[in-house]
Amino acid sequence: MLRVSIAKEFDGFALDVTLDAPAGVTAVFGPSGSGKTSVIRAIAGLLACDRAEVSLDGRDLSKLSPHKRGVGYVFQDARLFPHMSVLKNMRYGGIHDEDAVVAVLGLGALLDRFPAALSGGEKQRVALGRALMSAPKVLLLDEPLSALDAPRKAEVLPYLEALRDQTAIPILYVSHDMGEVARLASRIVVLNEGRVVLEGTVEDVLADPAAVPFLGVRDAGAVLTGRVVGHATDGLTKIETGAGALWVPGAVGRAGSNVRVRVPAQDVILSRSAPTDISALNVLPVTIAALERGAGPGVAVALTAGDARLLARVTKRSCDVMGLAVGDQIFAILKATAIAPADVG
């Protein structure tokens, strides 16, 4: 368990964050300038703070200089040493588990190259491998994918997932991309203007209608966990979730594998009756669990479906016209194509 409590006064900005990160991936989510990177720089000892309490499994790290903390840090810009080959870069911090790291991150073909000859995605994989081979007790990832274009992101994400499944240390994953968070993290800490505004499991926080203002209306949306049933010949994948069967676009996962599906709240349509003659493939019977009227024209609607939760965002006008109330049994309609392939995995 990593315990962190830090405070620092910047010019016109006060950072005051307390958070716990157990083994597994904890996402640190928030808009630009919310203090995400400052938090993990403080954990690594790279940022001097007014208050910096950092402990790992009861051991105080606060007084140690950065090179004694045993913290692996993957920077947004990879920061590979330009005068060393990939292999030398990776061995710089140690040679822990070299063969396994090289295999998991698919780096075998790159070892003799120099950083200048690598693509952005390859650089990030090398940076990740370099951090892992130093046998860190905590891994800090600072938006490792944000500098990459979509194809490169899609290339690196599976490696991060493999990493998540194979290590038992706390991993803090700083991101402002909800798709990444939903796929990788089991816990989420949401920062806003230097403070923690939400904290909990990804399932809980993303299904919480009160979280919508902090996550942003475009990023809000629950995460369903499910099992891939099979792939249809017309390019769709059927996933059995707690809320019912779901068709999503693309050939996702292998049959029988567990996946997460992020369902953006703004793409969920609500209906009083089960619609027919409609192009949307996914119609789920749901019950309204809560209504949260926002400051703007929207209402966040928390839904339960079987043992799963969903979140929908509709206008106040629709909500009033339909007379939606807690406890109502209605239908949630979800276009298969509203679920981007990157949101499934």
């Binding site: 790279l46 950065p66 090179h67 040493f81 005068h83 710089y92 911090g93 140690g94 130093s134």
Partner: protein, 231 residues
């Protein structure tokens, strides 16, 4: 070929090379330390150090020489220390010429090294730290290798400056053939002697050639630094 220059001129050339070589060798560690402090440090007196390092560049060389004479002469406080501790005498010896050359070349050397240090992404040093490297190991494995072209460029500039130093040298250690009469001093002497002008011209050509080569070399090294940065 050997009679292109007279024996005294060959001695002056050789002496200049020797003076510049030792001046560069001994000032390089100090030059790097000063450049590192100026590029990376944030400490009280940083600006004072900056001024001190650059003073020889802007002060009249004769003043620098005079200060050296006061400090490092036989009876100067530092001169006595060096004589007693290391048995090194600067006054009116080639060692004094080397000291003058080192002091006069120092600002150029520090400037070149400092620029190369500032071109290094500090983030790389941070990253090395998170990988468990102590500050000394970071310096040895990251900072020094990446700054290497700049350090060489600084050394070349310092060497070239040392080869041609005149004012501080002549003030500090006078103009003694075979002991302190370097290239520049030799040219000056030849110009005073009737009929010495052709030889002076030849020596001038030699010193221009050395200076030009040094500039080209340091320019090439500087380009390597910028290329690295672009990667």
């Amino acid at each position: 070929m050997t009679d292109w220059l007279g024996p005294a001129e060959w001695i002056a050339l050789w002496l200049s090379l020797k003076v510049a070589f030792w001046a560069t060798l001994f000032s390089l560690p100090f030059g790097f330390a000063a450049a590192y402090a100026l590029a990376r440090g944030s400490f009280f007196g940083r600006q004072a150090l900056n001024v001190l390092v650059h003073l020889p560049l802007v002060m009249p060389p004769v003043v620098t020489g005079y200060l050296l004479l006061l400090g490092f002469g036989r009876t100067g406080p530092l001169g006595e220390v060096f004589e007693q501790l290391f048995g090194i005498i600067f006054a009116f010896r080639w060692t004094g010429a080397a000291l003058a050359a080192a002091v006069m070349g120092f600002p150029l050397m520090v400037r070149a090294i400092r620029l190369s240090l500032e071109a290094i992404d500090h983030g790389l040093e941070e990253a090395a730290g998170t990988l468990g490297a102590s500050r000394l190991r970071v310096l040895r494995t990251i900072t020094l290798p990446l700054a290497w072209p700049g350090i060489l460029a600084g050394a070349v500039l310092g060497f070239a400056k040392g080869m041609g130093e005149f004012g501080a040298t002549v003030t500090f250690v006078s103009n003694i053939p075979g002991q302190t009469q370097t290239l520049a001093l030799s040219i000056d002497t030849l110009l005073e002697v009737p009929g010495g002008e052709p030889l002076a011209l030849r020596l001038a050509i030699v010193s221009i050639a050395i200076a030009a080569v040094a500039l080209i070399v340091s320019e090439l090294l500087a380009q390597r630094v910028t290329r690295r940065r672009a990667v």
